[in-house]
């Protein structure tokens, strides 16, 4: 059964929905959270492998030395950076720092660009 059964109008034309910078930060916080959740078992696997003796440690390092894995890693680093920054923005607005619209828009830009900046730094270091 649908959660909401009243007849409110639904407007879901993604090309026409207004997407202010804050809503982009918000939906990306969600998307990056899901990406990170999917990445967790992979990280636990690498931790496990790296502690199974010198051979496993070498294998874990070698796993990272692959272009596809590096691409995934950069994606996860972007996700982590964005998610952390957006989370700190949330925590600050919980204690009423930056919850007014101009400051909130500014911090949303900082989060969105900061995440990309960290990803570029990671790409520079890894590639």
């Amino acid at each position: 059964m649908p959660v909401s059964s009243n007849r409110r109008p639904v407007f879901l034309n993604l090309a026409k929905i207004q997407m202010p910078v804050g809503s982009l930060t918000s939906i990306t916080h969600r998307v990056t959270g899901m990406l990170l959740a999917v990445g967790v078992p992979f990280c636990i696997y690498l931790l496990d492998l790296s502690l199974q003796g010198p051979l496993g440690y070498g294998q874990a390092i070698a796993t990272l030395d692959n272009l596809w894995v590096k691409g995934m890693l950069i994606l996860l680093i972007w996700a982590l950076a964005h998610h952390l920054l957006a989370g700190v923005r949330h925590l600050l607005s919980d204690i009423d720092i930056g919850s007014q619209l101009p400051a909130a828009r500014r911090s949303a830009w900082i989060v969105n660009l900061g995440g990309v900046g960290v990803a570029l730094l990671a790409a520079g270091a890894l590639l």
Binding site: G33, V40, P41, G53, L84
Partner: protein, 112 residues
């Protein structure tokens, strides 16, 4: 005492775990930059340190609790058919519990 994680409690879990993970990640990065473990013995010795082992265990507990609240919220928001929603929530719960057991095993074997 309530045992479900809803409303204010979920809000609080999300924030407490977030702050802990933020501190852990910053300290981990600082250590990795200042004194990176370049070999297996160094890496192992670092994680064997009881403070680091406990902090790592708590980190994964926080991470899995945070993932439970976050992914659960996403499932509840987007998956409306009740049967499918319950299946996905159960799958998520089993998955996270399995990962918790996996991390416990890793830390246990490290000291065993």
């Amino acid at each position: 005492m309530r045992t479900t994680v809803t409303g204010l409690r979920a809000w609080l879990v999300q924030r407490v775990t977030a702050v802990y993970m933020l501190l852990f990640i910053l300290l981990f990065l600082a250590h990795a930059i200042v004194d990176p473990p370049h070999s297996y013995p160094a890496w192992r010795a670092w994680l064997m340190n009881s403070g680091v082992s406990i902090a790592t265990g708590v980190f994964f507990a926080a991470l899995l609790a945070h993932a439970w609240v976050g992914v659960r919220d996403v499932i509840i928001d987007y998956v409306h058919p009740v049967a499918l929603r319950v299946c996905l929530l159960a799958l998520l719960g089993f998955g996270l519990a399995a990962m918790a057991a996996w991390v416990m095993r890793i830390l246990w074997m490290l000291h065993g």
